[in-house]
């Protein structure tokens, strides 16, 4: 047994990124196949996966799930005509895909290094893997950037109006795209100067072996998929 790195054994989830990726796909398929019992089990499994990665996110998702269920119940008891079914459909869909969102959150919170190393193991071309990790990072940060832009608009006294949709679009879109392009340029310069394009066998700082928990989670996921298909 070799030395362990400064981050091994730390709290960032015990599951391998590839396990999380597989679970995301399994959760997706199950979400639209499963009966109530299987759905509940998949949901519980997804919450456990999230709890393993981040207790704070687990609590946030739990609260959101409660709200989504509350909305479904509310719509069931309030009839607002033709649109009721549309809203109900959307709300039910949100509840239905919750396990996918949970596992997806866990995957997004996985360290870029781990994701990159996993993709390298799958022989994804280096540039594509780096591009994918950068894309994921920006997806993760997009909400925060939009919030800052809104703040910028408020201090400038600019109000987007639905009556001037092109202007409203420009106000949000232009700073967002510019910011993302600037940050991506710096980031790429930085990773290139750290030898990301070096033509050699890459190594990984983190321990990336599959553990017992990976086996258990994947086993549970596949078993539930089997039950869902069989039922």
């Amino acid at each position: 047994m070799g030395r362990t790195g400064l981050l091994d054994g730390g709290r960032e989830g015990h599951l391998h990124p590839l396990t999380l990726f597989a679970l995301t796909l399994l959760a997706l398929i199950q979400a639209f196949l499963a009966n109530q019992l299987v759905y509940a089990l998949v949901l519980a499994l997804s919450f456990l996966v999230l709890l393993d990665v981040s207790p704070a996110s687990f609590l946030r998702q739990l609260a959101l799930f409660a709200v989504a269920c509350g909305v479904v119940q509310l719509i069931l008891h309030v009839d607002i005509g033709y649109v009721t079914s549309i809203f109900l459909g959307v709300a039910v869909l949100v509840v239905r895909v919750f396990p996918v969102v949970n596992v997806g959150c866990a995957l997004m919170m996985t360290s870029s290094s781990k994701l990159l190393a996993s993709m390298r193991k799958l022989h994804v071309p280096n540039k594509a893997a780096v591009g994918a990790v950068i894309g994921l990072r920006f997806l993760d940060e997009m909400g925060d950037r939009v919030k800052e832009i809104k703040r910028g608009m408020r201090v400038r006294g600019l109000r987007p109006s639905p009556l001037r949709p092109v202007r409203a679009f420009e106000l949000y879109f232009v700073p967002l795209v510019y910011k993302c392009l600037h940050v991506s340029e710096t980031l790429v310069s930085s990773v290139i100067s750290k030898g990301i394009e070096a033509d050699c066998e890459k190594t990984s700082y983190r321990s990336l072996s599959f553990g017992l928990l990976d086996g258990a989670a994947l086993g549970a996921g596949v078993a539930l998929l089997g039950v869902a298909v069989w039922v």
Binding site: L25, A31, G131, L139, M142, V166, L181, S184, L187
Partner: protein, 193 residues
Amino acid sequence: MKLKDIATIAVLGVIGFALGMGVGMITGMFGALSMYVSAGFAAFFVGPVYTIMARKVQKRGTAFCFWLIYGVLYAIMGFAVATPLCLIAGIVAEIIAGDYGNKKRVWLSFSASMFIYSMHMIVFVLVLGSDGLATFVESISLEQAQQMVSMYTVDMMVICVLINIVTELLAGRFGMFINDKFFEKGAKESRLG
């Protein structure tokens, strides 16, 4: 293609997809109307992203990579059936765009590829039928699929095609407008003299 270009495509591809999905979900709430305008309306949000990316990178393969990201993200979201259409859209966009130096070709490459993509529901209905739809598209039940197929009459499909041709062309033009106004270097007139 350099890593910088790949990163630009990845970042803008992700923004484009997020905008397209967000808008698509909102228009999806407008029931039957969304069948006509859903993709066309979202194109006005995706068009600027595509145009900026194409003009910024200006390398062979840019458009294809953009649609590849779309296809992969759709697959991850359980809509893998749309992926082949995204790839076809990418190939067509790539052929039309040429070397990305001509702005009109970039505009047309977006409009054409977005049109192909926007036809996904019609293609699925025609090719898969209700049983196939319910099988391959995880978010649609058999009942919904049958209802959907019954709604796609010949008249409706013709209207849909015509509306989408117009909206995709306009969306491509809008993309070029945003690109020229904010992202392209060029002589602009001063109001200050």
